[in-house]
C-alpha cells in the first residue's frame, strides 16, 4: 500500500516521537528519495525520527502492527542504495540518536547511539589515548549505525579489519518492537553463538541497532605515509603486489588513478598529487616507532623497482593529513567532472589487480564511459567510479551494463561483488554470480529468523526467490 499513512497511525507516531519528528508532507519526503546512490529514487510514505531505544521500539511496534515496511537510515551516505526507501515503506532515521553514551578508557570500550558520526567517536576518545579503527572514507559524515548495518571498511582495514571486529555488543529493536541485547562486554569469549557477528552487516534487514558497544584501540605511536607516483596503473598495481608479497604489513595501501587525481587536485582538498601522473599509491605504516623507517624504506624500494617515478614521504602531520584528505574526499570531488556517478565496490585477489584494471578500462572504452578508479589496493577492494549524467537515460543504461560486466569480471577471477559497501539494491542482481540457490535460500531463512514478516528493509540484499513457493514458511517461523 502506498500513499499517506492512516491518520490514526500518524497521530500515534507523532505522540511517540514528537509532532515535528514525523514527516509526511510529500514535498519534504522528496529529500529522502535517495541515499549516496542517486541512480535510484523512491520517496517513502513517511520519515520518523525517534530519539531513544524506547521510541524506536514503540515506532517499530506501531508500524509492525499496521504491516508497514521499515527502512532504517543513518546519514544516507551509503553507496549501494541500502537506505533507499520502498514506495510503501516508512523511513526510521537515527539522526537524532547522536550521543556518545559512555567511554570506558580502562576497558577500551565505548557505548554509542547509532546516529553518532564515525569520526566524532575518535575525536571524543583521542583525549583518552584511544581511537576507533574502522575509517570509511565518508567517516566525517557516516554514522556508526550505518557502519554496523553495512559492516563498513575503510583504508586502514587492511591491517585492522572491518567493523565486525570492533562491535562487541548491540541493543537491537526487533521487528515486533521487542528490545534485545546481543553480546556485550565480557560475552565475547563465552562460546555462545555469535549473534552480534550475525547482525553486523545485515544491512537493516534484521532490526535497528539502537545502542552499539565498540572496542577502541590505543593511538599508534608512530606513522609513516608515502606517496608513490607512477606513469601507469599497471605499474602501481604491480607495486602493490610487490609490497604485500615482500611480507610487509602496511596499515593502508590506496591507489588513485589519473581521472581521480585530476578531480581531487581541482578540489579544495588538493593533496599535491602530480596531475600528469598515471597513478598514485598512498602507503602507510603505523605502530611502534622502532622499525617504521625500515618498513617505509622497503616499501619505497618496492615502488621504485616496479617503475615509480618518484616516492615522497609526508614529513609532518599536516602533509599526511593533506595526502589522506585527497583520498578520502575523492568520491565527492567527482562532482567536478560529472554530474552523477555510480561507485562500484568489488573485491579481487590482489595479484589479479593489474589485469582486472586493464580490463575495466577496456569495458569503459567499449561502453563509451569515463571510469575513475580510487580504491583500497592493499586488500584488492576495487571502487571503479562510473561517471554519467542521470538525465541521459541511454547513458544510464550503458552504466548498468558496464557495471554488470565489471562485476562478472571480478567474480570470474575469483573475487566477489562487495568489499565494504554492502549489497543494497544495487548489487542484489549480482548475488546469483556468487551464491547458488541453496545459499540464497539459506540467507532468506536467516533473515526470517530475525524478521519473520519481512518488514525490515525489504527488497535489499537477497533477491526474491524465483519461485515464491521456495520461500520459508513464514507463518511457521513466526509462530
Amino acid at each position: 500500500m502506498t500513499g499517506p499513512l492512516p491518520p490514526r497511525l500518524e497521530r500515534e507516531l507523532r505522540s511517540v516521537v514528537g509532532a515535528d519528528h514525523v514527516i509526511t508532507d510529500p514535498d519534504r519526503l522528496m529529500v529522502y528519495e535517495s541515499d549516496g546512490l542517486t541512480a535510484y529514487r523512491v520517496a517513502p510514505r513517511a520519515v520518523v525520527l525517534p530519539a531513544s531505544t524506547e521510541e524506536v521500539s514503540e515506532v517499530v511496534r506501531l508500524l509492525h502492527g499496521a504491516d508497514i515496511e521499515i527502512v532504517p537510515r543513518g546519514a544516507g551516505t551509503g553507496l549501494s542504495g541500502g537506505a533507499l526507501p520502498t514506495p510503501d515503506g516508512v523511513i526510521v532515521g537515527t539522526a537524532r540518536m547522536n550521543k556518545i553514551l559512555s567511554i570506558d578508557a580502562a576497558d577500551r570500550l565505548a557505548l554509542v547511539q547509532p546516529g553518532v558520526v564515525n569520526a566524532r567517536l575518535t575525536e571524543a576518545t583521542r583525549p583518552h589515548g584511544l581511537y576507533y579503527a574502522p575509517d570509511p572514507s565518508s567517516q566525517s559524515t557516516c554514522t556508526l549505525g550505518g557502519n554496523v548495518a553495512e559492516n563498513s571498511g575503510g583504508p586502514h582495514c587492511l591491517k585492522y579489519g572491518v567493523t565486525s571486529r570492533y562491535v562487541t555488543g548491540l541493543t537491537v529493536v526487533m521487528a515486533g518492537g521487542e528490545v534485545v541485547r546481543l553480546g556485550g562486554a565480557g560475552h565475547e569469549a563465552s562460546g555462545e553463538l555469535d549473534l552480534v557477528g550475525l547482525f553486523v552487516g545485515s544491512e537493516g534487514c534484521f532490526g535497528i541497532a539502537t545502542e552499539i558497544e565498540v572496542r577502541l584501540l590505543p593511538l599508534t605511536e608512530g606513522v609513516r605515509t608515502l606517496l608513490g607516483i607512477f606513469d601507469t596503473m599497471e605499474a602501481a598495481g604491480h607495486a602493490v603486489t610487490s609490497i604485500i608479497g615482500s611480507g610487509l604489513m602496511p596499515a593502508a595501501v590506496e591507489i588513485i588513478d589519473k581521472a581521480t587525481i585530476e578531480a581531487v587536485e581541482a578540489s579544495i582538498f588538493a593533496a599535491g598529487y602530480p596531475t600528469d601522473a598515471g597513478a598514485a599509491l598512498v602507503i602507510e605504516f603505523d605502530g611502534t616507532e622502532a622499525g617504521l623507517d625500515a618498513d617505509a624504506d622497503r616499501a619505497e624500494r618496492c615502488c621504485l623497482r616496479e617503475g615509480a617515478r618518484e616516492v615522497r614521504r609526508a614529513s609532518s602531520e599536516t602533509e599526511r593529513a593533506a595526502l589522506w584528505k585527497g583520498r578520502k574526499k575523492a568520491f565527492g570531488a567527482m562532482g567536478r567532472i560529472a554530474p552523477d556517478l555510480l561507485v562500484q565496490d568489488a573485491t579481487v585477489p590482489r595479484t589479479r589487480l593489474p589485469e582486472v584494471l586493464a580490463e575495466i578500462s577496456r569495458i569503459g572504452e567499449r561502453y563509451g564511459l569515463k571510469i575513475a578508479n580510487v580504491f583500497h589496493a592493499g586488500d584488492g577492494n576495487l571502487h571503479p567510479n562510473l561517471l554519467f549524467d542521470r538525465t541521459d537515460a541511454e547513458e544510464l543504461a550503458r552504466v548498468e551494463k558496464a557495471s554488470h560486466e565489471i562485476m562478472s569480471l571480478c567474480v570470474a577471477v575469483g573475487g566477489t561483488i562487495t568489499g565494504e559497501h554492502g549489497v543494497g539494491v544495487d548489487k542484489r542482481g549480482y548475488m546469483g554470480l556468487v551464491h547458488d540457490e541453496v545459499e540464497l535460500d539459506m540467507l532468506r531463512r536467516v533473515r526470517r529468523v530475525f524478521d519473520p514478516g519481512g518488514l525490515f528493509n525489504p527488497g535489499k540484499v537477497v533477491p526474491d526467490a524465483v519461485d515464491a513457493g521456495a520461500l520459508p514458511e513464514v507463518s511457521e517461523v513466526a509462530s
Binding site: 514527516i23 514535498d27 529529500v31 541515499d35 546519514a75 565518508s138 578540489s267 567527482m334 562532482g335 554530474p339
Partner: protein
C-alpha cells in the same frame, strides 16, 4: 525567473549527494531532518528547477528560510558546490513565489535607505545610552509576546562600548580621552607605506559600532596604510542578497563599486565579516551583467577583512593589555572568506593577551541577521550553545569579528545575566596602541 533557474541548474550539477555537508550544518545537527541539511536544501532547489516542486510550497519556503546562511557546508564540500550563491538564488525564487514576513520586509526597507536607516539607528543609540534597553531586557519576561522585543533590546544593549580596564579587573585611573578621529602617529621609524585603503563603514556597524570603525582607521594607519574617506558608500547589500532581493542588493553594490572606484583605493577594508563576504562576492552578483561584471570583479579583488590587512603588516606590537579573550569565528569570515588565522594574529600581537578559541568556534552563533527574531526557538537553541561555549572558556572578554555575531553573543550573555563585553579584534589592538602612545 528562467535566468535564475539556469544559474541554479549549473551550480547544482556538482552535488553528487555524498552527504559530507550534513554534520557541518547547525540546523541538521539540531533537528535531524535531512530537509534541514545543505544536501536536502540543494535537493529541494533541484526539484524546483526540475519543475517537480512548487517554489510556493511549504517545504521549499520553510527549509530555504530556515537555513542560517552560515556556509559551513562550503569548506567541507569536495565538489565545491557554491552553496552561498545557490541559497541567494533560491531565496530569490522563494520570495518571488511568496513574499517574506513583515519583519524581514521592514528591516530591508530600513537598511536599504539611508534616510530611514540613520534615524532608526539613532533612536537605537538613544535607547542604549539612556539605559532603557538594558532596563527593558531585565523587566520584560523571557516568555510571552514580548520575548522578541526583549531579544532585540538585548542585542542593542550588547553594542555598548566596553571598558578595557574593567575587563582586565582594574579600576579606571587614567583618562580615556582618545579623540574621535585621531590620526595614528607612530613614534620612531614610520612604517612602510602599504597602500591606500578605503574603509567600508557599513550600516549597522556605522550606526551602532562606530567605535569599531574608528579603531579600524587608527590601527590601519598605525601599520602603514593610508586610509582615505570614501564618500557615497552605502549598505553592502548582504541583507538584501541573503533575503533573495538580488536587485536591491545590486543597486546598493553598484553605489559601493562606484564610490570606491572614485576614491582610487588599493584595498577596501571590511570590518564586518558579513559585508566583507558580500563584497568579495560582488563578482557573482553581477556575473550576468555585461556592463558591470568586470568592474564588480575588480572591486571584489580589492576587498580584504581588516584583520587580513593588519596581519599582513605584522601587525606591529603595542603596549600590554592583560586580557584573556574568548574568540569565536564569524561564519562569514571563516567559511565564506576562508579567513581563520588573521583575527587571531591580530589578538596575539597584543602583549598580555591570551587567546582562547572557544569549543565549536567554527559553528554559527545563530545570529544570522535577524534569525533570532524570525526563528525564536531554533535561534535560541543555537545561540544558547554558543553562549555556553563562550562562558566555558572563562575569559575576560568575548571576541568576534562581525557586528551581527557580536550582538547575538552579547545579547545571549546579557539575557543570562552576564555583563561580559564582546569586542572586535581591532578594538583590543587599538587599546594596546592607545596605551603605547601611538595616538599622541
Amino acid at each position: 525567473m528562467a535566468q535564475a533557474y539556469e544559474a541554479q541548474r549549473e551550480r547544482l550539477l556538482p552535488c553528487v549527494h555524498c552527504g559530507f555537508c550534513l554534520p557541518a550544518c547547525p540546523t541538521y545537527n539540531r533537528l535531524g531532518d535531512e530537509a534541514d541539511s545543505p544536501r536536502g536544501r540543494l535537493h529541494l532547489m533541484g526539484a524546483v528547477v526540475e519543475g517537480r516542486l512548487d517554489p510556493a510550497s511549504d517545504a521549499f519556503q520553510t527549509h530555504i528560510d530556515r537555513c542560517l546562511g552560515c556556509r559551513a557546508c562550503e569548506p567541507v564540500c569536495p565538489s565545491g558546490v557554491e552553496y552561498g550563491a545557490l541559497l541567494e538564488l533560491a531565496r530569490a525564487t522563494a520570495t518571488e513565489a511568496r513574499p517574506p514576513g513583515v519583519l524581514t520586509r521592514g528591516l530591508l526597507a530600513l537598511m536599504g535607505r539611508p534616510l530611514l536607516r540613520k534615524p532608526f539607528l539613532l533612536s537605537g543609540r538613544i535607547l542604549r545610552a539612556t539605559g532603557l534597553a538594558a532596563l527593558a531586557t531585565r523587566v520584560i519576561p523571557s516568555r510571552g509576546p514580548l520575548a522578541s522585543v526583549r531579544l532585540a533590546l538585548a542585542m542593542l544593549d550588547a553594542t555598548r562600548p566596553w571598558s578595557p580596564e574593567a575587563a582586565e579587573g582594574r579600576r579606571t585611573s587614567e583618562s580615556r580621552a582618545v579623540p574621535r578621529r585621531d590620526r595614528a602617529l607612530s613614534p620612531g621609524d614610520a612604517p612602510p607605506n602599504r597602500g591606500r585603503v578605503g574603509v567600508m563603514l557599513g550600516c549597522v556597524q556605522a550606526g551602532l559600532y562606530s567605535r569599531v570603525n574608528e579603531a579600524t582607521v587608527r590601527t590601519l594607519e598605525a601599520n602603514g596604510y593610508e586610509v582615505v574617506t570614501v564618500a557615497g558608500q552605502d549598505c553592502c547589500g548582504a541583507l538584501h542578497a541573503h533575503a533573495g532581493r538580488l536587485d536591491g542588493a545590486r543597486a546598493l553594490a553598484e553605489n559601493n563599486i562606484v564610490a570606491f572606484e572614485r576614491a582610487g583605493v588599493d584595498f577596501i577594508a571590511a570590518n564586518a565579516a558579513g559585508c566583507g563576504a558580500a563584497m568579495k562576492d560582488y563578482d557573482v552578483l553581477f556575473e550576468a551583467d555585461a556592463a558591470m561584471s568586470a568592474r564588480a570583479a575588480a572591486s571584489s579583488e580589492r576587498v580584504r577583512d581588516v584583520t587580513e590587512l593588519l596581519a599582513s603588516a605584522g601587525p606591529r606590537p603595542g603596549a600590554e593589555v592583560r586580557l584573556s579573550v574568548a574568540y569565536d569565528h564569524p561564519c562569514h569570515l571563516l567559511h565564506a572568506q576562508g579567513v581563520s588565522g588573521p583575527p587571531i594574529s591580530v589578538l596575539e600581537a597584543v602583549p598580555g593577551v591570551e587567546v582562547r578559541v572557544i569549543v565549536d568556534a567554527d559553528e554559527c552563533c545563530g545570529g544570522a541577521g535577524i534569525y533570532g527574531l524570525t526563528h525564536p526557538d531554533l535561534g535560541a537553541r543555537i545561540g544558547g550553545d554558543k553562549v555556553a561555549a563562550v562562558r566555558a572558556a572563562s575569559a575576560q572578554v568575548a571576541c568576534t569579528a562581525n557586528p551581527g555575531c557580536m550582538m547575538q553573543i552579547g545579547a545571549g550573555l546579557r539575557l543570562e545575566g552576564s555583563s561580559q563585553a564582546v569586542v572586535h579584534p581591532v578594538e583590543v589592538l587599538d587599546e594596546s596602541y592607545r596605551r603605547a602612545g601611538f595616538y599622541h
